[in-house]
């Protein structure tokens, strides 16, 4: 004949099982939280395709000695009348010598041919001591040179290939009231 276990003992065993499970949950939670606390490197490849942002930077530190541009906002505009023109507008709250991965360019057309794009920069105020260049596929293309001359380079890109683009900003001094930067990509 089987011995029956008293309910109080059953409850005690159930509580022990819950207690042990809670310990396992604590261990798992600690493992996950440790991973979340570990710093990561900005992944340019997982950045944006045609302006669709997957990451949103909310805080930069330290501000005064930072090598980062402090970008408040990025706006991508596609003109419905001219779908080949894409404009990116960057609102900075400070300009510093820096690198910044901007949304990735992708050429799409019906015939799957290499596409040429013209890139033109515009600063909302002139006479700003800022040198700006774009690095496309590892090749650096100046947009505003040391003398403040605006350049409108043309680049040819393969279709359906995601191309990482890095914006280089080389200012001789930190600008606390910087102009906003507009980059216009015209595919032709």
């Amino acid at each position: 004949m089987e011995k029956s276990v008293p309910p109080s003992k059953l409850l005690s065993r159930a509580l022990e099982a819950v207690g042990l499970f809670a310990v396992v949950v604590i261990i798992g939670g600690t493992y996950l939280a440790f991973g979340a606390l570990t710093p990561k490197v900005t992944s340019q490849k997982s950045a944006n395709v045609l302006g669709a942002r997957t990451e949103n930077t909310v805080f930069y530190y330290p501000v005064d000695v930072s090598a980062q541009p402090i970008i408040d906002d990025t706006v991508m505009r596609v003109d419905p009348d001219q779908p080949n023109v894409t404009t990116f507008e960057y609102e900075f709250n400070s300009f510093m010598p820096s690198e910044y991965a901007i949304p990735i360019i992708e050429i799409r057309n019906n015939n799957d041919e290499a596409g040429a794009i013209k890139i033109s920069p515009t600063l909302s105020a002139d006479q700003t001591p800022v040198e700006i260049a774009l690095e496309i596929d590892g090749i650096e293309i100046p947009l505003i040179d040391k003398n403040g001359t605006y350049l409108i380079p043309e680049v040819t890109l393969q279709p359906r290939t995601i191309t990482p683009v890095v914006l280089h900003i080389r200012s001789t001094e930190q600008l606390f009231s910087p102009p906003s930067l507009t980059l216009t990509f015209v595919q032709f």
């Binding site: 600690t30 990561k40 949103n56 930077t57 930069y60």
Partner: protein, 191 residues
């Protein structure tokens, strides 16, 4: 619920908190020592999270290694405190002069009570191994110096061996007392 499980749960919560606070202090310390620029980035996954993002791989290695060193020192400090309390509780029973001194300096709280000794030892062994695994994981993915993982594993192994020897000694004592018809109240409550 048994006293052991109850104390194990509480000690695990405490050790988990120590690990996470240690890592936070480590990351802040690593960023401060290296002066690396970082950003807090919001990722849009299923659960939106904030993560610390650096620009360069080399900076990541430095910051993370320093943070792991600080984290490990912090965890070992707390594990040593737990062990020292247990060691003291045994010494107090043997040495009456020491017991008198502890009472005189009002350090009675520093002496571990018999109920939580094994749960404390066990919980810290688990979390020391967890720390070693976490540091080893960072080393294997190349974001931490390998030496830190080796040190962490060594400490976890030495700590586990010490616990094993301690428990073995206690079991021998228990069996000695039982074979001589002496039952100690502390034995019953501890195990």
């Amino acid at each position: 619920m048994s006293t052991f499980i109850k104390h194990l749960f509480l000690e695990s919560l405490f050790a988990s908190g120590v690990l996470l606070v240690g890592k936070i202090i480590g990351v802040i310390g690593g960023l401060w020592i290296t002066g690396t620029t970082f950003s807090l980035t919001q990722t849009t996954n299923i659960i939106p999270t904030l993560s610390i993002t650096l620009q360069q791989e080399t900076a990541l290695l430095q910051v993370n290694s320093l943070s792991n060193i600080i984290f490990l020192v912090f965890v070992l400090l707390f594990a040593s405190i737990a062990v020292s309390k247990i060691y003291l509780s045994h010494e107090v029973r043997k040495n009456k002069k020491l017991a008198a001194k502890i009472i005189y300096y009002n350090l009675a709280d520093w002496v571990e009570n018999g109920e939580s000794i094994y749960s404390k030892l066990f919980a810290w062994a688990i979390f020391l191994w967890l720390s070693a695994i976490l540091v080893l994981r960072d080393s294997l993915i190349g974001i931490s110096w390998n030496g830190i993982a080796i040190i962490a594993i060594t400490f976890a192994a030495v700590y586990s061996a010490m616990i094993f020897l301690y428990i073995e000694k206690r079991i021998q004592l228990i069996s000695f007392h039982r074979s001589h018809g002496k039952k100690r109240a502390t034995v019953k409550t501890s195990l």
